[in-house]
Amino acid sequence: MIAAHDLRKIYGGTVVLDGVSLTVPAGHCLALLGPNGAGKTTLLRILATLLRPTTGTLRIDDVDALREPERVRPLLSMVAHGSHVYEDLTARENLRFWETLRGGDPAPSRLGAALTQVELDGVADERVRTFSSGMKRRLALARVLLGQARVLLLDEPFTGLDRRGRKWVNEFLLGFKARGGAAVVATHSFGGGLGVADRVCILGQGRLLLERPAADLSADELHRLYESLTDSVEDAP
């Protein structure tokens, strides 16, 4: 589904990504671990076609995403820090806006169904300004559901969520995978996401330091590897 090869990104002299390659087949989830500044957000944005890499190739659903970003955008959905919500609109209005802009079908029944699935139907007609960050994140995921994305890119989806919120995102991801979607979850916390990940990779200073099936590592092993790899990268010149 996602096939990235040797992605490199240089910002005015600084190498932010230094030859990253990864593949995520349909129905799989890749967890992207790394400290702040490792390049996770940059990598996600490149996968989302929001940013062009300096060199490298990217294919999404077997389409060259760098040459034809418009062809792959209907398949993509990204939920980053901002969650794309207009604070002065209600949840329902936000969904109606984004779904119409996408060229989809903003029928009230569809909007209602999506809101119910993310458990926001009770506050559907309240302004988003009154929502907690967890609720805003759920609204963003409702947008993903409506949009029927097949590739989901999540940037730090667990930040600011309590245990229940994190469990909720995990279940969402499971459902997404079950429907055949491919997901990449970037996180620097170990609290969530690893349960649903099929593969784990660690990004440090723009390079992939590790890439393994999640089943091969226990949580402790992963933690230790993470510490040692990221420390050694920081010590290196």
Binding site: Y11, G12, G13, R52
Partner: protein
């Protein structure tokens, strides 16, 4: 760069020839006197600035179409030179105007159009200086560059009609009198010299920009 060096020498020769033609060879104009000689700087200046903004237009469209940095360097360098030559046009026009019309500034059609053009492209340079990301800078500058260039004829006509409303055109307008072939020749020589100088500066400036980007 050898070609650049040759251009530099040609430009220098051209300028000397132009000065000689304008201030030595060409006759003293009957009505306006020696101050009319500044026309040999003023008219080539405005023609060169049009060349510059034409290149800004071409570079801008080409950059949007191909995203190759070279086109943006062309647009940026041409924009800078265009502002320079437009400024020169205004200053020489002003110097010409003072003894001829009695004021440093007058809202005649050409000066006004040139001043508006100056402002548009100063804004263009300002925009370029405020954006660090080369891709965003190239794109945004290109949009302004295209709009600014396409706007030139619109500005020209609106100012011309506006002028016609307020004052009849003066007889002593800064129009070159093509009657005397000597004046025409001197004008031509200076125009060639300015164009050579422009191309020389342009290639130098683009080279500097290219080196800056590589660093």
């Amino acid at each position: 760069m050898t070609i650049t060096r040759i251009l530099g020498w040609l430009a220098a020769i051209g300028l000397i020839a132009g000065l000689a033609a304008g201030f030595g060879y060409a006759p003293r104009e009957a009505i306006q006197g020696n101050v009319q000689r500044i026309m040999y700087l003023h008219v080539p200046s405005v023609l060169t600035s049009y060349l510059a903004f034409g290149l800004v237009l071409i570079g801008s469209i080409a950059y949007l179409a191909t995203r190759r940095a070279g086109w943006d360097r062309l647009a940026g360098a041409a924009g800078e030179l265009g502002v320079l030559f437009t400024g020169l046009t205004i200053v020489t026009g002003s110097i010409w105007g003072k003894p001829t019309w009695g004021t440093w500034w007058t809202w005649d059609a050409r000066l006004t159009s040139t001043a508006v053009l100056f402002c548009v492209y100063v804004g263009y340079l300002l925009l370029r200086s405020l954006i660090e990301d080369p891709d965003a800078r190239g794109r945004y500058a290109a949009v302004v560059g295209v709009l600014g260039a396409v706007n030139i004829p619109i500005v020209h006509f609106s100012v011309k009609w506006w002028r016609a409303l307020h004052q009849p055109s003066t007889i002593l307008g800064p129009e070159p009198s093509p009657i005397d072939p000597a004046i025409g020749l001197a004008l031509f020589v200076n125009w060639i010299a300015f164009t050579l100088l422009f191309v020389y500066f342009l290639s130098r400036r683009m080279e500097i920009a290219r080196r800056e980007e590589q660093m």
